[in-house]
Amino acid sequence: MSSPSSSNTRLLPRALMAPAIGTLFLWMIVPLCMTIYFSLVNYNLMQPGEKTFAGLDNFTYFITDPDFWPAVWNTLVLIGSVIGITVVLGVLLGLLVNDPFPGRGIVRVLLISPFFVMPAVNALLWKHMMMNPNYGVLADLWRNFGLTPVDWLTDWPLLSVIIMVAWQWLPFACLIFITSLQSLDREQMEAARMDGSNAFQRFFYLTVPHLARPMAVVIMIEMIFLLSIFAEIFITTSGGPGNASTNMTFLIYKQSLMNFDVGVASAGALFAVIFANIVSFFLVRMVGKNLD
């Protein structure tokens, strides 16, 4: 801004930002402080009474829980697979519907629909109508090919959750890529074609670099939402069988609202915060420069 810097122009930007920053700061710091306090005391909802100082017992308990490392691993696998699937398929689908063809409007509406479905319905729909080993549509498909129907939620619990979540997020990735492809320089493309490049060369040297920014955006946003995947697991597998589909969110949930152990759950929550910060540290380095 080239306007003269009176006290007004310095105060105003801060005043405008204050409500957002203030509320978000409270939203972050108050729960964080309470969580830190809870994590240091013995506090079980089923055992009312004095909250005694527990030191680091809750942390030790949480991290030595046999479900801890599987949960970390499952979280990473879930996020990685869903992002991989949605980015790759999203780009391919985006290219497929980028140029006009009969019924493009309807195809777009059909493609985008899963994004509007609430996770709870998504989970129930796949759990019962699609993946049920006896009456599900997939079971029938398998039988048609002479195969034994798969008991998805029992035999492939994490894969089942990945399929559901990817189904939900593919439209989102696809939409962002479609929008971005619209701004791809067609003359540059044409020039490359004239110069004798083939479709693959044009894809890898022109389209992919053009999509780097939208890819960063898709990864960033999906990461934010996938770190806290809950409903799909809660409704379908409840983290099981065993801990096969338990992610961090669900493990902490299990400690707090199923075991009623606030202390351990809070220690777990702090781990989740640290975990999210590690993930976001790398993420921000990767896509941060694309935010300006």
Partner: protein, 294 residues
């Protein structure tokens, strides 16, 4: 598409050239059309199946092989309506979604405005910090928020959900609005300011008209996210302020195979937002670039 260019060798302007012959095509039209339709129908199939199942009897819903043709019945919808108060849940969903969207826009717009038009070195850090609050899993804040809501007597209340939804959507909203405001040339604001426009007038008559697409798109995304939110709804509210997400979760308990009723309830829960999404998708997509499109 080569033939088109050969038949029309006279190309008057580059733009006309681009319109007539999009050169980014990798496949012939017939193949692309078929491919796109097949993929779209496959992806849509689960939803279509939900729709069909909602109109079946319970017997038909679990028939082997699955039924595509049957005499539709409305019985499931009557059943769902008598068993649970659909209208109450739908109303709660509507109020919480709209409320958090309006409140969110009111808080996010000034912040995004400030970040876009009074940029400093810290702007990017502030934005990243906001996004990082969103990255902390909600479950980490569940107990404290639960205890606070309990202390404030706001458990099972619509206002608690509005506050929580607003705060959890706020970082994304600020980011979206920021990218849409950033496209406005600062010179225009400068000119308005020279003419003595107040801040509100400048926002109302310059920024708002130029960023109406971005604002609408931000609001739409927030509406969809709030409507579909499940974690906080499942944990903070119950009978009184329950949203459609909690209604659906109540059908998830293992009480036998009532797929038709489950489908009817699900259909009722998602129909408003899906249909709304169909009509607003073009608008939504326009602002959903997060600055990814230059």
């Amino acid at each position: 598409m080569n033939t088109v260019a050969q038949q029309n060798p006279v190309v008057s302007s580059p733009t006309q050239f681009a319109v007539q012959k999009p050169p980014s095509q990798f496949l012939p039209v017939a193949l692309r059309t078929a491919g796109a339709w097949i993929v779209a129908l496959l992806l849509f199939f689960p939803l279509g199946w939900l729709f069909l199942t909602a109109f079946k009897t319970e017997q038909q819903a679990i028939s082997v092989p699955p039924l595509f043709l049957f005499a539709p019945t409305l019985e499931n919808f009557h059943e769902v309506n008598s068993r649970s108060d659909y209208l109450l849940h739908a109303m709660n969903s509507l109020i919480t979604s709209l409320g958090s969207t309006i409140l969110g826009l009111a808080i996010a717009a000034p912040a995004a405005y400030s970040m876009a038009f009074f940029r400093t070195k810290k702007t990017r850090d502030i934005l990243l910090w906001m996004l990082s609050t969103k990255m902390m899993p909600a479950v980490g804040a569940l107990l404290p928020i639960y205890v606070m809501a309990q202390t404030a007597g706001m458990l099972d209340s619509v206002s608690a959900l509005i506050i929580v939804f607003t705060l959890s959507n706020l970082p994304i909203m600020v980011w979206m609005l920021y990218t849409s405001y950033k496209d406005i040339p600062p010179e225009i604001l400068e000119a308005a300011r020279m003419d003595g426009a107040t801040l509100w007038k400048e926002f109302r008559h310059v920024v708002l008209p130029l960023s109406v697409g971005g604002m609408a798109s931000t609001g739409l995304l927030c509406l969809v996210l709030s409507w579909n939110e499940a974690f906080w709804s499942l944990n903070l509210v119950a009978a009184k302020a329950g949203t459609l997400a909690t209604l659906i979760a109540s059908y998830s308990s293992p009480e036998g195979l009532f797929w038709a009723k489950l489908s009817a309830a699900s259909l009722l829960a998602i129909a408003p937002i899906v249909i709304f999404g169909w009509f607003s998708q073009k608008q939504l997509v326009q602002g959903l670039t997060f600055g990814a499109v230059k």
